[in-house]
Every structure is written in C-alpha cells, then in structure tokens.
Amino acid sequence: MIKSNKMVEYVRSMKRIGGITFLLFLIILVTAIINPQFISSYNIRNILRWTGLFGLLSLGAAFVVITGGIDLSIGSVVGLIGSIAAYLMVHAQWPVWMVLIFIILLSATIGLIHGLLITKIHMQAFVVTLCGLFVYRGLARYLMDDRTQGYGTGFQNVRFLAGGRLPSAFWPAGQAPKFIQNWSIPMPFLLLIAIAVLMAIVLNKTIYGQHLKATGRNECASRFSGIHTDNVLIIAYVISSTLAGLGGLLFSLDLNTVQPSSMGNMYELYAIAGCVVGGVSLRGGDGSILGVILGTAIVRVLYNAINVAGVSTQLEQVVLGLVILIGVAADEVVRMIAAQRKVRESMILAQKALEKSKQTES
C-alpha cells in the first residue's frame, strides 16, 4: 500500500518535471532542425558550462524561494566575490586555498547578515536583499576602484575549476582520444551536479529539508511544532549567498576578467527565473532540485538557441520573456485542465455506481 503510493507520488512529480523536460527538448529539436550545429559537441559543451555556472546561482536561490523569501542580492554578490577573488589571487598574491576559504567565509557572512536581519529584526527579505543589491555592487566598485580584475595567463590550476573538462583532463593535453575530447563534461556542470545531488538529499531526506519546506509553507505552524524557524531561514540565506559567492568565483575564472560595476548584473533575475520555470513556487514550500536545473537549462538553451537560430539580437529578450511566460502559463493551464478532467471522470464513475445501486434496489 505504502509502496504503491510512493509510486503514484513519484509519477506525479515526474509529470510536473515532464512538462519542462518536454519544453527543453522541444527547443532543442526545433533549433537543431534550423541549425544542426546546435547539437554539436562544441555547442553542447558550452551549454553545459553555462548551465553549470548559472545553475549554482539558481540552486541557492531555490532554497531561499522555498522558504517563501527572495534573494535579490545574488548578482551583486557574484560581482563582489568575483572581483575580490581575482584581486586577492593576482594583486594581493594570497595562496589559492586561502582565497577560497576567505571568499566562502565572506559570502556566508553576507548570507548570515541577511538571515539575521530578516529573522531577528523581522525585515522583509525583499527589502534586505534589495539593499544588498545596492551595497555589494557599490562595495565591489569601491574596493576595486572600478578597475577590471583578471587572472591573465596564470592560475591554470584553479582556473581548471571553470574551464576544465573531465575525463579528458586525465590525458596529457590534447592526447585524449577524439571521442573523449569531444564529449568530456565541463567542470562547472560536474560541480553543479555534485552540489545538486547534495542539495537534493538535504531537501528531501534530511530533517533540515523537511523543516525548510514546512517553514516555507507555514512558518507559524512550524514554530508551534518546535522548529527553530529562524535558524532554518538563516541557513537558507547563507546557502544562497555562499553559492552566489562560489558562482562569482567560477564566473570570474571562466571569463578571466571581472568588471566590478557590471559583472553579475541581473543574475538574480536569471536565478529566480530558473527556479520559477523549474516549478519552484514563489509562495514557498514547493520545489525540486531537478526542476531547478532543468529550468536553468531551459533559459540557457534558449539564449543559445536564439543566437544559433539567427534571431535578431534585439528580439532575444522578447523571445526569452515569452518562452518563460508561456512555459509557466502552460504548466498552470495544463494543471487546471487535468484537475477538471479528473473530476469529470469521477462524476461519470459515480453516476454509473448510482444507477447500479438503483438497479439492485429495484
């Protein structure tokens, strides 16, 4: 009994994911027909790398969105941490491991501050992180004095995190078999998968995940149940900022150059868009990690498809906006129709039962 129910639930959640997967493959199919190069190993590699980079931000955002909150500071944190990382390694010449520890601590502290302001002073997440958006951007510009930061040609080791690929990296440069060289997976995507698996376990299997979902849906009830909702929320913001910081590092390593004034601008919107397309409800309490990754992938594939299919650069944003809109709307509409159909079916069944019982009575 319990088992079959698990199946039902699984299938149901799959159906939801199914919609996005379908959308994703539709975009891929249509673009591949327009330009077969779209599914070349080179392009898929690129898509995977971008999905990895942006996916990290979306994953962090997802945890906050599941609590019913929002993190508008993600883009600015990307800019701040990205430029600080480059500055510390190149100009201050800190050892790489120290830089890594420092930026993780710094971004976690940022999240901690958000969380404390939201839970202890009861400020709204939107306000706190909006202020963060302004403050960290300004700080990045001030600290870097508006100078572009970059790694030059050095730091190949740490830059492997963003630009490397596996398993081709196990062979000496350029000596991997052709097939492996073509189809090796970019590091950012591998990192994303690793972190996503971890987070999926946290969300679905652990006590923290359960409390996160509960707090997101009904904070009051969760508090009455003895959950430290404050801690739950704070941790969510710490995770979001930390992943944004990690993302900032990877972005800066990948691009190899960081403009403090602009790097990461609007990324919070992409991160949240990825969540929303992936079925995370902004009302809190609902969301799946797989959905978030698929949602991010859709946004990235779409951008890529628009370019490759030769849509004018001016219409790019129009297409992006419309596809997100239609994707989410279709999901809503399908769900409405499915619910109605289910009810109609049960109506017919019940009427049949009624007639039957009448017949047996008479």
């Binding site: 690129n46 508006d146 691009l255 403009q259 951008y303």
Partner: protein, 330 residues
C-alpha cells in the same frame, strides 16, 4: 543661487565620464596629479550604469556645488545639447572622448570614436587584405561610442572619404552587411547589454554559427577579453583574428602573444590632462589657447605586435607613476 560671484581660490572642476569603466582609471590617475599640480578640486564622476539620466543628475549637483567648469563625455549629443547649452550659460564646459559639436562648448578634447572606428577599419583591411567575414560584439548599440566606432569601421571599409567627426548616420544592424563592394561581410553585430558572460556566450555562438568567419571585433572594453576567452576555449587562438577597442590587460596580452591583431587605444590620460588644464585656467580667468575649430586632437593608437611593448609600458607608467610620465611628456 547657483552662480559663483568671485573667482574661486581653489576652483572646483567636474569630470564626468560615460560609465564606470576601467578605461577611465587612466583619467583618474591624471586627475590625481592635476589636483596637486594645479591646486584645484576635481570631482571625478562615473555614472554607475552609464546612463544620460545619471550624467544629468551629476551635472545638476555640480552646479549646485558651484562648480567652475565641467568636462564631460557626452552620451547622446544630438538631444542633450539644449540642456548642456543651458548649463553652459553659467558654467564653461569642455567635451572629451565624445563630443557635442553643436553645443557652445569651449573645446573638444580627443579623437572621436568615429575616427577610432575608422582606424579599426584600416586594421581590418590590413588583417583581411583579400576580404573576409567578421562580426562585432558590443554591449549596447544605442550607446554613442558604439554607434560611432561601428559606423567608422563600416565607412572605412566602404571607402568613404575621411572625416574626423561622426557624420551622424547609422547603418542599421542587419545581418550580412556587404562592405567594400562585397569584399568584406559584417555577419552580425551582437549585443549583450553590458553582461560579460553574455558577451562570451555570444562569441561562442558566433564561432559555432559561422565556421567560416575570419575575424571578431570587440567594441567595448570587456568585449575583447570575452572574445579571447571564447576563442581560447574553442582552441582557435591564433587562428581566429581578433581586433579590439580600449586597453584592457587581457587584450594587450593577446596582442603581445600574437592572439589578437590589434587594439585601438585611445588616450584617456591625456583627455583628462587637456580638459582639466583648459577648465582650470578658465576658472582662474587666465588666458587659454584653443584652436579656432575648438578641436584638440589627442590621437588614438593602433596597438599591434610592433608597438605593444612600448605602448603598454607607457600605459603602465601612466597608472603607476603618472607624475613622472607627465613631466616627461611636457
């Protein structure tokens, strides 16, 4: 109540750029030196988003502070001129980098972006003497410097007669623009709205879409590093030709390594020196010598493998040891 009655002891000069770009750190270096040398105050303002709205806001607050002169890189000369003229009734202005030719400015310092674009066009001719296909990566196409640079390249390749100033037309962004009678093809101009990673993914997509492409042109300062990064990832370093604007370290390094053909370097350091000198003298009521056409030429440089060491050294000196550099050039 915003006018200053007497000539100030220590004049206040405003210096407004067109955005928060590293490009302007050279000007900032010059400003620091000039403040001491000329005994003036300079307010160095970088519009955070490079918007005309922000420039307007800065001008207004400078006027409120009783500024004695303003230097500005104008974002949209055609339409902003009336507003600037209004300000110039009380505050003298010098344009640099981007001119407003029909305004009542004291002078224009610099080489127009249009002229720099024409230089880039020449570079294209040099690197693709037998013709070829190329594309442009840029942040926004409605920004004045992007319009002028692109138009300069197009006009140069089309063999139009040389003019130093932007003639005010714009070739629409249609795909496959045939230039020079079909010798060169501008495949596309792709924008990224100022997002570096978008610039990189645009470059990647271009490499995929146009395997036959010969050259990529990065038009904003971050565009060329993004192109270089994408080209490196695709394993095409040295094969794909690259031309870029501005003096980002990544671009200069690539020129040095032979991965990029040329960088078009303007001279923001000198822009600041000339602009502020004029304004400071004017503020003290001293005589200023300005050419009759009010144009003070600060030529742009085409940086290639030939002159990279010398030029880069100069740039480094401007930033780190500007004072000495200034004395040397005087």
């Amino acid at each position: 109540g915003a006018q200053k009655e007497a000539v100030a002891e220590k004049p206040l000069i405003g210096f407004i750029t067109n955005g928060p770009y590293e490009f302007w750190t050279y000007s900032a270096a010059a400003v620091e030196i000039l403040k001491k040398d000329l005994n003036i105050d300079v307010e160095f303002l970088l519009p955070p988003n490079g918007l005309p709205e922000e420039q307007k806001r800065f001008i207004e607050s400078l006027v409120t502070r009783g500024v004695d002169g303003i230097g500005i890189s104008v974002t949209d000369p055609d339409n902003v001129t009336p507003f600037l003229n209004e300000i110039m009734e009380t505050v003298p202005m010098v344009m640099f980098d981007s001119d407003a030719p029909n305004s009542n400015r004291l002078a224009y310092v610099g080489m127009s972006n249009y002229a720099a674009g024409r230089m880039a066009g020449q570079a294209v001719k040099e690197v693709l003497p037998n013709g070829g296909e190329f594309m442009i990566i840029v942040g926004r196409l409605d920004a004045q410097n992007a319009i002028e640079r692109r138009q300069g390249m197009i006009d140069e390749l089309n063999g139009e007669p040389y003019v130093a100033q932007y003639p005010g037309k714009m070739t629409p962004n249609t795909p496959n623009l045939r230039l020079g009678g079909g010798k060169w093809t501008l495949l596309e101009t792709r924008t990224d709205g100022g997002d570096q990673s978008k610039a990189k993914s645009n470059s990647e997509d271009a490499i995929l879409k146009f395997p036959q492409m010969d050259l990529m042109v990065g038009m904003w300062s971050y565009s060329s590093p993004a192109i270089i990064s994408a080209v490196a990832d695709a394993g095409l370093l040295g094969k794909m030709k690259i031309i870029g604007f501005d003096m980002e370290n990544e671009l200069l390094q690539a020129v040095k390594d032979g991965h990029a053909y040329a960088a078009l370097g303007q001279d923001p350091f000198t822009y600041a020196v000339r602009t502020i000198e004029i304004l400071a003298k004017k503020a003290r009521g001293e005589a200023v010598s300005i050419p009759a056409d009010k144009l003070i030429d600060v030529p742009a440089l085409k940086i290639t493998a030939q002159n990279i060491d010398e030029v880069w050294g100069k740039y480094k000196a401007q930033l780190s040891d500007g004072n000495k550099y200034l004395e040397a050039t005087k």
